[in-house]
Symmetry: C2
Subunit: 486 residues, 2 copies
């Protein structure tokens, strides 16, 4: 079989040592790799590349489409941005996959039978990083959730479950509150799940789900979630498994995929043959399965499990009474190589399957582009910066001012402050800040369509009245159904 | 001393039984209460009150300002909204406090020395519930964070720590990503903390913080956080403490405060003298401290701890070998009353202090209204719904169309899609959806001020060009500092 080209970066700190150990095991396990090396991290940052990667390195990533990355050190001081964010955004790595496994009784954990995979959406949600301060008192961040983005991640979670013999996919959302954004994610989960009848599908509200995950993680298998929940709960899962130093992860895009350890570059441990290469190694196992070399992945992973079981441990997981031999980075890799062909006796043996022939051509599209729904403009929320010095009981004064700018077919319906209706008929107990949402609809109040021109002239009247418009949000119906919250 | 008027609601399911048990203990412990009863829950919903509370009941809450609430049952079917949300929003209950305590070895937990209090902001963040669908593919939710709202909750956390003899307050935020919204919360935490030199203050990024909380909760004391993180992590903390059935909570407003159990009404257990009243009882202890009856609170709480220690347990926490006597709701309350005056021997004794004389008049304001900063309008982000059928490489086509609507002193600076810059000089690898942000600034590109009129005429040109504007976000500087993300 032909070799698969991959791009490798040795990184900073303990990076070069754990990468050498990982590549050594892979080679001995028969992985068929053509390695292109690129430089990333500290030196590259200091040479003036703000994201820690040189422009020419992108070409290697685009060519090989597979990136095995060691941890890096971001230099202290301003002006340096995250390499991972740059790679993720530039190459559209929409899925972050983090298996969190307990290796009880060989590695300490309160959750001995845990084996959870977190599949985190990686591009959307509040992480789009779109924020505004438009009044003295209020900051705003946009949370975005797209249909194709949600489809991509949900589909990936089920495909991952299928490929890695997983039995169940659970969706974590907060759609009792965020009915539209998280509701979209949930709806798409429910639509895609039936295409995988062999995999159980269920869902949890993220608060209860997180509580159960933290307490009894053995009841979960694969969990798919929006970006923020995934960020928090993938850290929770890795920590309670006891495997932060032992966990690998992948970042998957439509074209390119990146594989790494979840830990950092640990500069204080560098150059001493101390570091545990297991996190990066397990990232590399995900890579071998991704590039359809399940034979090498199975061989290497089982040998690694046997090594852990045999108590051959680096300092970070060494424990008197459990471990048998304290080894360095190189010796650990040698111990794994010496066990190639062996399987674990207590821990679960792995066996990866090759991709089915023609899988690529049979594969379902990872997102759809269905007929666009009919969209009708039915109103506008005009947001104002307005403050009369009062935190209570100010709404009626503003209400009178805003009523007066209605006209040309548009009428004020309500004013709300931080999502609470305060006009008309607001309550004196409601605390208000200087950020007001004024909802205008067709004066018939029957949901008739309005025009962009009507909205623009409304904004002119606001301006003439000396009211400080800071933002607008148009109100739409889609195929006749309301597309905005109450 | 005069009695304190409070409003009591007996609720649904097990509510009436656990309320009776709680009030019995409070009375015997010498609590000085004048009780006004109101009805909430199932019957009130079905009588046509959509939030499960009758209009006249609000008057009682406003009069007594103290609400001891049993759990309720929300009827199945549509049209019923959350009573808690209604009370919280209407009365401005900005702080949710949830102590999560382990009672090891008397109640099972993996975290025997845990004693954490989660202080959750209760009004802002994505829970303002402001959502829009404005394109076929994208849903949006606004996350709002206000200075007075953040001040209120942070100040409350420190005041709580002071009152309850706590040593440390930790702030959980994600301000490496949400630099403005979570950054504001963090900044206010840092500003208020030095006013409490006797209390240690630190902060964690919420992902790492959550992981540490789930793994080693004994390292935390009071944790204050924005609404969403607090929602998720207060459930995590209660669950891993083993105390979901034993935890009370308070919801605090500037005027009114509400005290309750964190569990539900458990209709299947109702009317059988089975339910554990401890959650509501511990909510009532928070209430007694709130209304400055620390003597009764101390007496009752210590007797309760001693009862738990003595192995007098209701069915939900009864465990062979640990518990000694399985009792019903009434018998549990009698057992607590019989121990009034006793203290726990293994568990930690509590001792509540009276409010200092004149505390009310010396108290710092819970939020400030400083001089408003100078605000300059320097541009606008115009968001478009636009789709040419392509998910890759569409930006240049749109760029040409949008460049053409510039003029009258405004110039297109960048176009971004889901927070990633795609024009000019976008990358072909970037996946784009039908939701585009077009940033216009003064044509000098030097950050000069622009006018509302310029923005309105820009919107007119968008409309004339047939480009579908769905929302706008104005760009401002405050005292010369940029008030928007890149």
């Amino acid at each position: 079989m032909a070799n698969t080209p991959i791009t490798v970066a040795h990184g900073d700190g303990i990076g070069p040592e754990i990468m050498a150990a990982t590549l050594h095991i892979l080679k001995e396990a028969g992985a068929r790799l053509d390695i292109e090396e690129i430089e990333i991290g500290r030196k590259v940052y200091l040479a003036g590349n703000s994201a820690g990667i040189a422009p020419e390195s992108w070409n290697s990533l685009r060519r090989t489409k597979v990136f095995l990355k060691a941890p890096i050190t971001t230099p202290q001081g301003g002006g340096f941005s995250s390499l991972n964010v740059a790679v993720r955004k530039t190459l559209g790595l929409y899925a972050n996959i983090r298996p969190c496994v307990s290796y009880h009784p060989f590695v300490q954990t309160k959750h001995p039978t845990m084996d959870v995979v977190i599949v985190r959406e990686n591009e959307e949600d509040v992480y789009a990083g779109i924020e505004y301060r438009q009044t003295d008192q209020v900051e705003e961040c946009l949370k975005l959730s797209s249909r194709p983005g949600s489809e991509k991640i949900v589909r990936y979670a089920f495909e991952y479950a299928k490929k890695f013999n997983r039995k169940k996919v659970t969706c974590f959302i907060k759609d009792n509150i965020m009915k539209r954004t998280d509701g979209l994610f949930h709806k798409i989960f429910d639509a895609i799940a039936p295409e995988y009848p062999e995999i159980e599908a269920d869902d949890r509200i993220v608060d209860i789900g997180a509580a159960k995950l933290a307490d009894t993680p053995e009841n979960f298998d694969v969990i798919v979630m929006p970006n923020l929940y995934g960020d928090v709960l993938s850290d929770v899962a890795a920590q309670i498994a006891g495997s932060v130093g032992l966990a690998g992860s992948s970042n998957i895009g439509e074209q390119v995929a990146m594989f790494e350890a979840i830990h950092g570059s640990a500069p204080r441990r560098a150059g001493q043959n101390l570091a545990n290469p297991s996190g990066l190694f397990l990232g590399a196992i995900l890579m071998l399965v991704h590039i359809n070399q399940p034979d090498a992945a199975t061989l290497a992973h089982n040998a690694w499990l046997r090594t852990i079981e045999d108590g051959v441990h680096t300092f970070d997981i060494f424990k008197e009474g459990v471990s048998r031999e304290k080894v360095g980075t190189k010796e650990f890799a040698k111990a794994v190589v010496a066990r190639l062909g062996q399987k674990p006796e207590t821990l679960k043996t792995v066996e990866y399957k090759p991709d089915a022939d023609g899988a690529a051509s049979d594969a379902k599209p990872i997102y759809s582009s269905p007929q666009r729904q009919k969209k009708d403009l039915v109103g506008v929320d005009v947001f104002l910066d307005w403050f009369n010095g009062k935190f209570y009981g100010a709404a009626n004064e503003l209400g009178a001012l805003v009523e007066a700018v209605g006209g040309d077919g548009l009428k004020l319906q309500t004013i709300a402050n931080r999502g609470v209706k305060v006009y008309p008929n607001g309550l004196p107990d409601t605390f208000t800040v200087d950020h007001w949402r004024c909802r205008f609809v067709d004066e018939s109040q029957e949901g008739n369509a309005v025009s962009h021109t009507q909205i623009i002239t409304l904004l002119q009247r606001f301006d003439e009245a000396g009211l400080d418009v800071i933002k607008t949000e148009n109100l739409y119906n889609f195929d006749g159904a309301k597309g905005y919250s109450g």
